[in-house]
Subunit: 158 residues, 4 copies
Amino acid sequence: MVRILIVYYEASGGTEAMARAIAAGVKEGGGEAVIKRVEDTAPEDLKAADGVVFGSPTYYGLPAPRMLALFEESVRCHGALEGKAGGAFAVSANIGGGNETTVMALIQAMLVHGFVVQGSPAGDHFGPVSVGAPDRRVKTQCGEYGRRICALAAKLRG
Amino acid sequence: MVRILIVYYEASGGTEAMARAIAAGVKEGGGEAVIKRVEDTAPEDLKAADGVVFGSPTYYGLPAPRMLALFEESVRCHGALEGKAGGAFAVSANIGGGNETTVMALIQAMLVHGFVVQGSPAGDHFGPVSVGAPDRRVKTQCGEYGRRICALAAKLRG
Amino acid sequence: MVRILIVYYEASGGTEAMARAIAAGVKEGGGEAVIKRVEDTAPEDLKAADGVVFGSPTYYGLPAPRMLALFEESVRCHGALEGKAGGAFAVSANIGGGNETTVMALIQAMLVHGFVVQGSPAGDHFGPVSVGAPDRRVKTQCGEYGRRICALAAKLRG
Amino acid sequence: MVRILIVYYEASGGTEAMARAIAAGVKEGGGEAVIKRVEDTAPEDLKAADGVVFGSPTYYGLPAPRMLALFEESVRCHGALEGKAGGAFAVSANIGGGNETTVMALIQAMLVHGFVVQGSPAGDHFGPVSVGAPDRRVKTQCGEYGRRICALAAKLRG
């Protein structure tokens, strides 16, 4: 059974709800889902997982500084995360408010660690995004995303 | 009076309507607006304008190849577009469908020419985006964007 | 044995040499490598491969329009490329000339198809990049990249 | 006389030297240059300048968290930075190490504030980048960049 860690930063709402919906998808996919606030996450937690999904509100078109601080700390695990499944999700206040650029920034950071990232041809292409509070559409996207990353992590573990 | 060229690629709809709404904003701002399909646009048309706004549907998270072909041709004006006002807008089929990444890709291309690009603290931050057919929200964004680029081009011309 | 297709666009040189170095790495990794110019590549060729690496010179900070035209055509295989291994490489004329943004643009396009992309913690993080003609450093990066995508494609095929 | 603030985060070296070279260019262009470490910079300092250049090392393909924390704090000046000249520079350890993606991330953040950003058709297109310690090429780029942002800020102030 693969273990997927979902790390999120919560500010004005939305990321925690998305994290829960992704976790539900992971469980439906047969995996174990662990949800953690970024403040409670150590780089070693990333290492202990088969896959990691990072979620953040959009701060000036980018992830929250607190989320990037985890990447900065994770330099002490540099190399040890290579080949794990990775994913990202984001919340923005508005359409055109930077949720895609936030997801792509998280993907860039994961690629530097050697994470393996998959897009989606049908749903939110780079990772689930919510404009304002997550609605049913977003939760469906998140559930599907959880199932997908679970399947990817299982393949990668072999 | 500044002259703003709005170049768009039309596929399944939306970009032409956004181009018209931006042109209306340019006129309200006291400028001259010229709308052209990308197929009818030569690099010299970019040179003749004080500012250029490029609009494209989202093709695999990026601008339409036909739009990038104009940039490729425009190498013969390389250097001559420096300091002009630039902007971008995009249409995607879905939320999370790549409209922000498309706008940012166009901005990257413009920066290589030396264009001057301004974001917006209130509206769609990188440039107007529409999810599906442009609704009232999108048209309001486009009008405001037209007024802004007109003001920017005027300042840059001095 | 996995089959890796390396599709490149050649303009003023460099991408073909990088494609050959990646192909050599694929063979060292135990895979079959097929090299094709983008002009000779049909979307069905992407479908026939277990992994695809796209290489392009940098045109205004983005991939060559001809390369993106292949993505546009590939809409007729939309969904059928999901889960394949994907990668990208780029050549730019100068440092700061857009090779990273070109690689990231190709990665964005691949993610929309549902490709699976891996970064590297040690080498060129997003994919091999060359500033000017590929030197020994670049060829070493490409060889290593070929071995890595071969291993990734094998895992994904199971 | 325009006032250009250069804010940098220093880690393993390079950004401070680049900041000084940009400041020299600003002075040559007839402007006043103020250099500040990000730890000593308040959002009000951004407000007091006609133009701001942000410089950071590359942390996982993105700016240092400390730099993004300044953007987070600067929300209390949201709207008040609109129309100012903006720019960015970055240092990475390696080619393909993320300096372009770092500069583009800073540009994204600036656009959300409504900053006005200009690319360069001749030099490092998005902003000066250094691979390792800044050499003569980098310092020349920085000097030229300082002169350019000075000229841009002057035009924008009218």
